[in-house]
């Protein structure tokens, strides 16, 4: 009962700590001495597996990652993780984690702003590091996320954060790295004449939206050069799209919209484009490849969109994307609390054709590349941040996923959370009840 032991020891640690009943543990302190994990199977994140490996890190950076035999142990505090598995920390792109606590309570929602074009709106300032949900997500191996605003046509700017911080400034990994565009949906007649008027109005609105979007992009492209002295927050926020310093994330699923949107923004000079959602990516695979557009595929744990499709189509899509040669990452988009299931999204992809290490890449290194943070994150390689997860079994399978250690830039993350606290609280109550009852006694059966 390895698992129960972990909980018990975690609970003991809680009791000892001064903030014994804090539900969101204090962020870990900066790495003070070099640490070396040894004896585990290393899953680098780039497809490579190293058996019997060691991973060393110092000052938050990885100093060694390779066979244990090649590691110089001197100076390291050695942690024996023999038989376990080391992974890069998982990254959840396209997420509202920390921007919303309880979906049904409006007061806790901070992911949507009014207005149709809000490129200047920054998600990172609304990021709640004290969310009860975040620790539960870390506990399954997800250590970074992309805070993604939603709503309107241009929803705002996203930032990548790590999940163990005192405040949003501490959390930032890459600030304002991209702008999110919700591509206006193409409209088709329903065949029901009654609705034609409404359809036409919606079509007009769509055209108007696209016209405004085109104008916004045209104006933003030249704004920096114009230097007319008057600041325009919206245009300034978009400047990076044209020199490649910011990405444009286009949220769309429909194949024809993918083609339409990419061509549209490219014509306006946008350099770095990512398709998010990408339900139909396979149908336009050649287009995506020809234009070198990566995708963040959202719908793994989903039903097929048509009855005729393969029952397992959404589960197989990551494999098929891989086979088609499209660069892709996976996200978990069913709920915020469900973000902790991101490893199992990758696991599902592995169960349906993707190689396990490729599946891991789709939630680590591929994601880091698409988000533009692969120099520091996404794989366990020398020089990168020591953002690492250790699991006693296969991280991608809920049957074996059991995170024993997690490090964010070398800091050892506390794996407790509110749910563990509640578990121990009530489990303790029942254990006490049992102790108070003589052995063999049964509870009263009522009437």
């Amino acid at each position: 009962m390895k698992i129960q032991k972990r909980y018990i020891s975690a609970f003991a640690a809680l009791l000892l700590s001064t903030a014994a009943f804090a539900q969101v543990p204090a962020p870990a302190v900066k790495q003070s001495k070099p640490v070396l994990l040894k004896g585990a199977t290393l899953h680098v994140g780039n497809g490579t597996v190293v058996e019997n490996a060691a991973v060393g890190f110092e000052n938050g950076k990885i100093t060694y990652a390779g066979p244990q035999s090649g590691a110089n142990l001197s100076g390291y505090e050695v942690v024996d993780v023999t038989g376990q598995h080391i992974y890069p920390g998982l990254i959840q792109p396209n997420s509202s984690l920390g921007l919303n606590e309880i979906e049904s309570v409006r007061a806790t929602i901070d992911w949507r702003e009014v207005g149709d074009f809000n490129p200047n709106v920054r998600s990172v300032v609304a990021y709640n590091t004290d969310s009860d949900i975040i620790p539960t997500v870390r506990a399954n191996g997800v250590l970074m996320t992309q805070l993604t605003p939603i709503g309107g046509t241009v929803a705002g700017s996203s930032s990548v954060v790590q999940l163990d911080a005192w405040n949003w400034e501490d959390a930032v990994v890459k600030a304002d790295e991209g702008i999110h565009l919700n591509w206006p949906a193409m409209l088709i007649p329903t065949g029901n004449k009654e609705y034609d008027d409404r359809l036409n109005r919606m079509k007009d609105r769509r055209e108007e939206t696209l016209r405004e979007l085109g104008q916004l992009l045209s104006d933003a492209a030249v704004f920096k050069a114009a230097k007319n002295g008057t600041e325009n927050l919206k245009l300034s926020a978009m400047a990076g799209l044209f020199d490649g310093s910011k990405k444009l994330y286009i949220h769309t699923n429909y194949g024809k919209e993918i083609i339409e949107s990419v061509n549209f923004v490219k014509q306006h000079g946008v350099k770095d484009i990512v398709i998010v959602g990408a339900g139909d990516a396979l149908a336009v695979a050649d287009f995506l490849k020809a234009n070198n557009i990566p995708v963040i595929y959202s719908g793994v744990h989903a039903l097929p969109s048509r009855a005729e499709e393969d029952v397992w189509q959404p589960y197989k899509t990551p494999y098929l994307l891989h086979k088609a040669g499209i660069q892709f990452a996976l996200d978990y988009d069913l709920s915020i609390h469900g973000t902790r299931n991101l490893p199992f999204i990758a696991g599902t992809a592995a169960a349906f054709g993707l190689d396990k290490e490729q599946a891991l890449s789709s939630v680590t290194l591929n994601t880091a590349k698409i988000l533009g943070i692969d120099k520091q994150a996404g794989s366990v390689e020398v020089g990168k941040d020591a953002t690492i997860v250790v699991s006693s079994g296969d991280l991608l399978d809920m049957r074996t996923n059991n995170v024993t250690h997690a490090f964010i830039a070398g800091r050892k993350v506390d794996l407790n959370d509110k749910q563990l606290y509640l578990y121990k609280k009530f489990d303790g109550k029942y254990k006490d009840q049992k102790k108070q009852q003589p052995a063999g006694a049964t509870t009263s059966t009522g009437k």
Partner: protein, 1006 residues
């Protein structure tokens, strides 16, 4: 030239016959005429199976006086020579809204305050959708335009039904003559009409299909009670409902499943409905036949889809493609099955499609005789109006049509439609001018004219040095022609003229503006080949295979029960043997025959299970798949509604879940109200009818719900509907069960009385809602209670204690871990999510260790889905209890197999691998709690309803079938067929909180 009719084209309004006009004073001199007409020399089809050649039909005063081959023309009769023409009885459409006001559906917004009571003032029913007091005869107004439209299709009589509400009142049989209402109404009350559609009622209840069904049931009981206990309650609706029961009962069904649903209600109240259908009955022919219901069949066929764009063509579902091809086969298949049916034009947007569509049905296999019967004798018989319409014999209404030839030939024309002895001209007599003529323009005789095509649509070609197509039209005995001189020329010669014997002649104008005389002399009749071409009878059309169910992954042949021996697998028995390695499982006669080592069975299909795992089928305690509706949330207590009434056996999620190893699901009512509806427990027998999905002999269950959904706290506006707080929820239960106890007592007291005393006391009213609650009190129905927070869970158990019943299962039960000891003491089970939380206030304390704690305390614990996607991986959800709470793997598997079986009282038949239990078994390729596991075969009752290999084959076959149909549609379009754009119909995946199921047409392309 054959101008056959000699009398004036159309009789004036009111003249000719004088029935029922007697009470009206006249302005001017009386002008009554005998209306005596004899049609002679005709081919008369006196009824659908009798044809008289060279016969005479005599009518007088709007009625048939005589018909036959030896009938003498009476003195004073106007004689109409109908040589070469056919006469048929006028058609009867027994499902029409002719002459009745349009039904406007109630428009209510989401935010509107609830309408709990009927808006109709007066001593009527409590529910506005029950309106049997409606008499169509009182609303009926003859409508010239509508009448003409229908007459053109051959109809003489229609049943006018006010198609509004669930009980729709009586319908009137009226003719389509342009006369005063007093004359055209031939039966003021010919039938009563019903449906499951609440129509113009804006009252909240019923808000769902199962609510409509329940309301109709209760109305039958109320009407009976009201009739048996006169004076207890004056209720015009109930009284008229009872009165109307002596008429034929016509039920409008939405689709094939609606036919079965309607018939089921009819059976309960010993009423055989005549059911109006949508034309898709062929897809469940066996079940529809078993209803014994006569049908009123729509001939509304879908247009082909525009499928040129392969990407957009994906949107057209297989069933829509196949229905496009097969819709016209419906009538022929009904005939083959021996089902009685009448045709209706009611669903046709364009009534002009009616006869062509009936002809199409004949090309697709319907016999002409049966077609005529469905247009005449059958509706007449079903309406008990055979003495009036449906055939031509003495005393019947003089309703008949005169046609140019065989009614069902493609080139046939309805020339006249006579209604109540009044003659309505439909088509001008199209004389046949086809042939070749020598054309003379001025002195030029170098060209010939060829008139081909059909008599009513002649086509002109002018043959000179080259052949050019021209235009020709006849109007009476006048003719107009135009054509160019040669192919290259764009100058048109225009000729105008008249008919002179067989020839044409007249004057015209040449392109140079000069006037010219012309003539065309008939030289030869149409060639034999031309005649053949125009009279060509379409060959019987071939269509694709029937599949069950009629949609993707349907099959022509359902898989069969087999004797299966799975060898050398890891077998999770869920019995005290636990998990057995290298073990065999034998399935026989739908049961598990043996579990053991080295089994053998002659004739068994052997499956190598080496490296594989065998588990019992997964049982989902909380599911909303395969339903056409989920919530009847309009009232806080709706114990009377039954999910079994709305099971949708066509739902693709049945197949998808089989692919995830699910074999049994409890289909629950939603969580919109404290007492929801009765559950349906089904096995996933993909391809079978709703009735065949039911688990026979299963205990009855009912959904209760607590918390935010029932108090409507996540709606934007506070509502007036009680309850709006957890305080009110408790009182709702206390009140409901108090009433139930009083109800039971009232019946007990009544049943103790002597017959005489009973008669004096009067029968208590049967109330299906309270009856259901009494079942709970008596331990005959069991509760699955949607619940989240500990206070409400505790409350529910206390109410149960107070009222003397048990809560069988708390479902969702996310704070079960806080009161697991109390649940254990009460004897309640828990059926929960593995790891959902934080999406609303009442789940902020939910923990993934919940199942583990409840389990450890001895509560029977299950993991459920409430979600059609997650249900496909319930095994993985169970595995999370191992991960988060350290439950053993075997116990975790039981949370999705044996434990839900226990909660559903089905553990004597399901949930473990033990000889004698149902052969509901899954063969996995991997450890069943692993994410890498997927079912290779899922057996229900020993039938492999899912088989991964067959699945691949089905996908290929389906793609081939789609390609065939796409090609056929493209050909149809190229041939001029009407088309429509592919649209998206999104069937929403349902959860507890969904209000109603809508298959929505979406504008969005994805």
């Amino acid at each position: 030239m054959k101008k056959i009719f000699t009398i004036a084209a159309c009789l004036a309004f009111g003249a000719g016959s004088a029935m029922a006009q007697e009470t009206f004073p006249r302005n001017g001199v009386y002008d009554e005429r005998p209306g005596l007409v004899a049609l002679t020399n005709a081919t008369i089809h006196t009824d659908y199976k009798t044809t008289l050649n060279n016969a005479t039909l005599v009518i007088r005063n709007g009625k048939v006086e005589a018909v036959g081959t030896n009938v003498k023309v009476p003195a004073g009769a106007v004689v109409v020579d109908a040589k070469g023409k056919h006469i048929y009885p006028g058609f009867v459409d027994m499902y029409s809204s002719y002459g009745l006001p349009e039904v406007k559906r109630a428009q209510r917004n989401w935010g509107s305050p609830p309408q709990m009571e009927s808006n109709k003032q007066g001593a009527y029913n409590w529910n506005q959708a029950i309106r049997p007091e409606t008499n169509a005869v009182e609303l009926f107004k003859a409508d010239k335009k509508q009448a003409e439209e229908l007459r053109k299709q051959g109809f003489g009589t229609v049943l006018a039904i006010h198609q509004d509400g669930i009980a729709r009142g009586t319908a009137a049989l009226v003719t389509l003559a342009d006369k005063r209402e007093n004359e055209v109404i031939v039966l003021d009350k010919a039938a009563a009409a019903l449906s499951f559609d609440k129509g113009s009622s804006a009252q909240d209840y019923p808000s769902s299909l199962m609510g409509s069904i329940a309301l109709l049931r209760q109305t039958y009981l109320d009407a009976k009670w009201n009739a048996q206990n006169p004076g207890r309650e004056q209720n015009i609706s109930l009284k008229t409902f009872t009165d109307a029961s002596r008429f034929p009962q016509i039920f409008e069904a939405d689709d094939k499943l609606g036919v079965l649903r309607a018939d089921k209600v009819g059976d309960e109240f010993k009423t055989q409905y005549i059911i109006k259908t949508k034309g898709d009955e062929y897809q469940m022919l066996k079940e529809v036949k078993a209803t014994n219901a006569p049908l009123i069949v729509s001939v509304n066929y879908p247009d082909a889809y525009n499928v040129e764009d392969p990407y957009d063509a994906r949107r057209v579902p297989l069933e829509a493609m196949k229905h496009w091809e097969m819709a016209a086969s419906n009538a022929g298949l009904l005939q083959k099955a021996g089902i009685t049916f009448a045709f209706t034009a009611s669903d046709l947007k364009d009534k002009k499609d009616f006869l062509p569509n009936v002809r199409k049905a004949i090309n697709y296999g319907l016999s002409e005789e049966e077609a005529l019967k469905a247009l005449t004798a059958t509706p007449a018989k079903l309406l008990n109006a055979e003495n009036l319409v449906g055939s031509l014999s003495e005393g019947k209404l003089a309703n008949f049509i005169v046609t140019s030839g065989n009614l069902f030939a493609n080139d046939n024309l309805i020339l006249e439609n006579w209604v109540q002895g009044d003659r309505y001209k439909i088509t001008e007599v199209p004389s046949d001018y086809r042939g070749v003529y020598t054309l003379k323009i001025g002195n030029n005789t170098s060209k010939k004219l060829k008139i081909a095509g059909t008599p009513d649509k002649p086509e002109l070609s002018v043959i000179g040095t080259d052949t050019v197509k021209g235009k020709i039209s006849f109007s009476g005995n006048l003719v107009t022609l135009s054509f160019t001189d040669s192919k290259k020329s764009n100058e048109t010669i225009r000729l105008s003229g008249w008919l002179a014997d067989k020839n044409l002649q007249g004057e015209g104008q040449l392109p140079d503006a000069s006037a010219v005389k012309w003539s065309a002399t008939f030289s030869e009749a149409m060639t034999q080949q031309d005649k053949k071409d125009s009279a060509k009878k379409a060959e019987l059309v071939e269509v694709g295979q029937m599949i069950y169910p009629f949609r993707a992954y349907g099959q022509a042949e359902l898989p069969k029960q087999e004797t299966i021996l799975i060898k050398n697998a890891t077998v999770w028995t869920n019995e005290k043997d636990g998990k057995l390695e290298n073990t065999d499982v034998l399935l026989k006669n739908g049961k598990i025959a043996k579990v053991g080592k080295n089994l053998s069975e002659s004739g068994a299909k052997v499956i190598d299970g080496t490296g594989k795992h065998v588990t019992p089928g997964i049982i989902d305690e909380h599911s909303h798949i395969a339903l056409n509706a989920v919530n009847e949330g309009s009232q806080s207590v709706t114990a009377e509604v039954r999910m079994a009434d709305v099971v949708n056996s066509d739902d693709i999620n049945i197949y998808r879940q089989l692919a995830g190893g699910v074999t049994t699901s409890q289909l629950l009512h939603g969580s919109a109200n404290p007492v929801g509806g009765q559950s349906a427990i089904i096995k996933l027998r993909w391809g079978k009818s709703p009735q065949d999905l039911m688990v026979d002999g299963a205990d009855g269950f009912i959904k209760f719900a607590l918390g935010e959904n029932v108090k409507q706290s996540n709606r934007s506006n506070a509502s007036e509907r009680f309850p709006q707080s957890r305080m009110g929820v408790e009182q709702t239960y206390v009140d409901a069960f108090t009433r139930a106890k009083e109800y039971e007592q009232a019946w007990k007291s009544y049943n103790k009385l002597s017959k005489k005393q009973q008669a004096k006391a009067g029968t208590p009213r049967r109330d299906l809602e309270l009856e259901t609650l009494v079942e709970i009190l008596n331990g005959k129905r069991f509760i699955t209670c949607h619940s989240y927070v500990q206070s409400e869970i505790n409350m529910m158990m206390k109410v149960a204690d107070q009222m003397g019943f048990k809560v069988n299962t708390f479902t969702h039960i996310l704070e079960g871990y806080k009161v697991a000891d109390k649940m254990k003491e009460h004897g309640a089970g828990g059926s929960t999510f593995s790891d959902w939380w934080a999406y609303k206030m009442e789940v902020k304390d939910a923990i993934p260790q919940n199942a583990g704690i409840m389990h450890n305390l001895g509560v029977v614990t299950a993991i459920n889905s409430d979600d059609a996607e997650m249900a496909r991986r319930l095994n993985q959800e169970a595995a999370k209890s191992v991960k988060y709470a350290g439950v053993s793997e075997e116990d975790a598997l039981k949370m999705v197999t044996l434990n839900p079986a226990k909660l559903l009282h089905l553990d004597d038949r399901m949930g473990s691998l033990k000889a004698g239990k149902d052969a509901d078994v899954v063969l996995w390729n991997n450890h069943p709690l692993s994410i890498y596991a997927r079912p290779e075969k899922t057996f229900v009752d020993g039938v492999a309803y899912f088989d991964a290999e067959r699945d691949a084959q089905l996908q290929q076959d389906m793609e081939k079938e789609r390609m065939r149909l796409i090609q056929k549609m493209l050909t149809a379009k190229a041939g001029g067929a009407k088309t429509q754009n592919p649209t998206i119909k999104k069937a929403s995946v349902m959860h507890c909180e969904d209000v109603e199921h809508h298959e929505e047409e979406s504008y969005l392309a994805y």
